[in-house]
């Protein structure tokens, strides 16, 4: 009797196992189809209707890119050439805001993609590409591989790798690593050059005043010798001033940065957030109006429109953001969780979802904006406990930021 039961049970277990495990297509999802369509397909009426505009930078470099590709096709094993081509494509990707160019850069170094013994120039590009894909740990690993090699090698590569290491380490809040990179950069290139790695680190670890002064001391020299970085430095100074609550100074720095570079979208987002925090939404709108190809800019623009009472613009911008996020979800690509969290909170009116996204984002990256997203969402959702990790992090890193401190206090008071 028991034997029969055992055999029957075994048979049913096996049937259930095979039925549960079969046919689970991992790549497919069952969901309503919604492509990122804005209109439907149509036949244009006129031959001279413009369907697509190519970014100016891309246009100018088109001949150059084709020439490089032909060279690469002729010499596929030439790592230096591949790294050069990939580097050029990465620069273009930044300038033209088109991530497909990162894909092209990746194709250029494809044969070395999984190779730990890849040449150093290739490693640097590989790290950069992984970083743009939010694969920060892998990027740091590649940089470490590069730096572990003979220090006597190309110093330019080493310097770039150290700056990159410091920057990426800060994104994941690996302060030990960032410090080591800044120290190494100082040894290799001198204290002045190390400012670019040192100052951002100081700003995040409770020595913001020092960081501010460090930038200030070297600004004149930088302006003279390397004007290209002035915008970057002034933006950094503006952010630190904002952290310290020195609002007039912050605005001065942002405006100075804008004067040096009118198309830096990171700067625009920083200044826009500054203006939104001061209740100057219409100014923010004017600043961002022509740059909404960038998703972060579009987000700030939508928020500014909403706060300015421009309901129609807010609605349209929100719909466009939704389409962009949906398109990324459809391709199962790397999501902009930082943006999505704020979108859910400020435009979607969904604090619970915003909090969930903010926490997911926090797991990947730990910059002040990510902390702020968690705190704001937690406050709006009435879930103080959800922000515990962030508050603990703030205490440990000793970050001085008046906005974060104020948000934390409001959460604590609940």
């Amino acid at each position: 009797m028991t034997m029969r039961m055992l055999v029957t049970s075994a048979a049913i277990v096996i049937i259930c196992l095979t039925s549960a495990a079969s046919g689970r297509a991992l790549a497919s999802t069952l969901e309503p189809i919604s492509e990122s369509r804005v209109d439907g397909p149509r036949v244009p009426l006129r031959d001279d209707e413009v369907l697509e505009t190519l970014p100016r930078r891309l246009l100018e470099s088109r001949g150059e890119i084709q020439r490089m590709r032909r060279e690469l096709a002729a010499w596929p094993g030439d790592a230096q050439l591949a790294a050069r081509v990939a580097g050029e494509l990465v620069r273009l990707a930044r300038a033209s805001d088109d991530p497909r160019l990162y894909g092209h850069a990746r194709a250029a170094i494809a044969r070395w993609w999984d190779d730990p013994a890849a040449p150093s120039g290739v490693l640097l590009i590989r790290a950069k590409l992984k970083e743009t894909d939010h694969d920060y740990r892998a990027a740091l690993a590649d940089l470490e591989l590069l730096l572990a090699r003979e220090p006597g090698q190309v110093q330019a590569l080493q310097v770039q790798a150290l700056v990159e290491t410091a920057s990426v380490a800060l994104v994941v809040a690996d302060f030990g690593r960032a410090t080591a990179a800044a120290d190494a950069l100082e040894r290799v290139a001198g204290p002045m050059q190390a400012v670019f790695a040192r100052a951002p680190l100081l700003a995040r670890t409770g020595r913001a005043g020092e960081a501010y002064d460090l930038y200030g001391r070297h600004l004149a020299e930088l302006r003279e010798r390397s004007p290209g970085v002035v915008a970057w430095v002034e933006t950094a100074r503006g952010e630190i001033a904002e952290m310290l609550g020195r609002l007039e100074a912050a605005e001065r720095h942002y405006r100075a940065a804008l004067a040096a570079d009118q198309s830096d979208r990171y700067l625009m987002r920083a200044l826009a957030d500054f203006l939104l925090d001061r209740g100057r939404a219409p100014e923010a709108m004017a600043l961002l109006e022509n740059h909404t190809a960038d998703t972060g800019v579009l987000l700030a623009y939508a928020i500014a429109a909403k706060q300015s009472g421009k309901a129609e613009i807010a609605r349209r911008s929100t719909a466009e953001l939704t389409a962009r996020f949906d398109a990324i979800r459809l391709r199962q690509g790397t999501r902009h969780l930082r943006f999505e969290s704020r979108y859910e909170l400020e435009l979607g009116g969904n604090p619970a979802r915003a909090l969930e996204l903010a926490r997911q984002s926090w797991a990947e990256q730990k910059e002040p904006r990510d902390a702020r997203n968690v705190l704001e969402a937690a406050l709006a959702a009435g879930d103080a406990g959800a922000a515990n990790q962030v508050i603990e992090f703030m205490a440990q890193s000793r970050i001085e930021d008046v906005r974060l401190r104020e948000l934390a206090a409001r959460l604590g008071a609940r």
């Binding site: 790549a27 069952l30 990122s36 036949v43 010798r225 391709r331």
Partner: protein
């Protein structure tokens, strides 16, 4: 290295690092959208390919002024179709089909303009199993994805994401029909009970005392199999009935409970049931039914999330609910049938009472307590 050179290198690094990492770039990487449908004209495709991609591969901007016009696109129509066809191969029911170029149109997506290629095929009517092999752009852009969309527009359908790592896909085009949809949900139900280790653990905890009976405040093994089987059947039925009710309520959105609360109470249900095994308060004939039904209500909410994620609300709801439930029951039945004979055979031995029932309940309660803390206070202790 001279000072100025170093500074230039650093500036270069800054430019490369650019605005601080952690900020995502504007649009998304390259995608194409390949929509497959059947109709009166047989198997047809509509393929949206980005103009920026086509510009890089076949060249569209003939006057090199940075603008791609409709006229310019039309002029390159055959080159575009040739390139597209060379990177796609389709077979239907094992037979390769050829792609017949149709109309060219234009469509705008969230990240720019796309050429729309309509393609007919020489596939026979009523295509069943479709197999697609896709290689557009992968050689020049490994971040490109081919999104194969199967099914009616606006309604529910399937999306397959094709990449250099996964560049082929197979699927059935014929409408699965109500029976097959039902089976899909049965399968999902079995799967979710198999991966729902907290539900399984609750069930096991509930059933542990089934082969014993309390007489004179002591656990004694039952004399015959049949009463034990009957008891188990009653307990599982109560559990089933309860979670069916709440599953239905939750999927229909008649009742919405916060998932954090539901998950915490599920953990609590395990603790209480396990504790009761150690210190029985209710008569053994009742405890299983009471806990099974009472906590079954909460467990039903736990399943609802999974069923909702499967889009049950939009699809044939009755069939989905029934199928999913049948699946859950089958899964539970498996577990019971696997466990019950062992329990019955061992019921006389001291090891059953001391190791399985008592020590087992303590271990289960401890695990469930960890889960409770993790879920109620949103901390991570074990991570599973």
């Amino acid at each position: 290295m001279s000072w100025t050179v170093v500074l230039r290198v650093v500036a270069l690094a800054i430019a490369l690092v650019g605005s601080i990492s952690g900020e995502a770039h504007a649009h998304k990487p390259s995608d194409s959208y390949l929509r497959i449908s059947t109709g009166s004209e047989g198997l047809r495709l509509r393929w949206d390919i980005a103009l920026k991609d086509l510009e890089m591969i076949v060249g569209l901007d003939s006057d090199a002024n940075g603008e791609i016009t409709w006229g310019e696109l039309k002029a390159r129509q055959s080159a575009v179709f040739e390139y597209a066809r060379s990177r796609l191969s389709i077979s239907v029911d094992g037979q390769p089909v050829s792609l017949v170029p149709g109309r060219l149109l234009f469509n705008r997506h969230s990240d720019g303009g796309y050429a729309v290629l309509e393609l007919g095929t020489d596939a026979p009517g009523n295509p069943g199993r479709v197999s697609i092999s896709y290689s557009l752009l992968f050689d020049v852009d490994p971040t490109h994805r081919g999104l194969v969309l199967v099914g009616a527009e606006g309604g529910s359908g399937t999306t397959h994401v094709l990449s250099p790592e996964l560049s082929t896909v197979e699927f059935d085009l014929a409408d699965p029909g109500p029976w097959r949809s039902f089976l899909v949900f049965v399968r999902e139900g079995v799967w979710h009970i198999w991966i729902g280790y907290d539900h399984v653990l609750f069930l096991l905890t509930l059933l542990l005392p089934a082969v014993l009976v309390r007489r004179d405040r002591k656990w004694t093994p039952v004399d015959e199999l049949r009463p034990a089987v009957w008891d188990v059947a009653k307990i599982v039925s109560c559990f089933t009935l309860a979670h069916t009710i709440t599953l239905w309520l939750a999927v229909m959105d008649h009742v919405a409970l916060p998932s954090r609360w539901v998950e915490s109470v599920i953990a609590l249900s395990i603790i209480i049931t396990a504790a009761h095994n150690l210190r029985p308060v209710l008569p053994s004939s009742m405890s299983g039914l009471v806990f099974g039904f009472g906590f079954g209500l909460v467990h039903g909410f736990g399943f609802a999330g999974a069923l909702k994620d499967l889009g049950a609300k939009d699809l044939a709801l009755g069939s989905a609910l029934l199928g999913f439930n049948v699946g859950v029951e089958l899964g539970q039945l498996c577990i019971v049938l696997a466990v019950l004979p062992v329990m019955y055979r061992l019921r006389h031995r001291a090891v059953y009472l001391w190791v399985f029932l008592r020590l087992g309940s303590i271990a289960i309660a401890a695990l469930a307590a960890v889960w409770f803390v993790e879920r109620a206070f949103k901390v991570e202790i074990l991570g599973w």
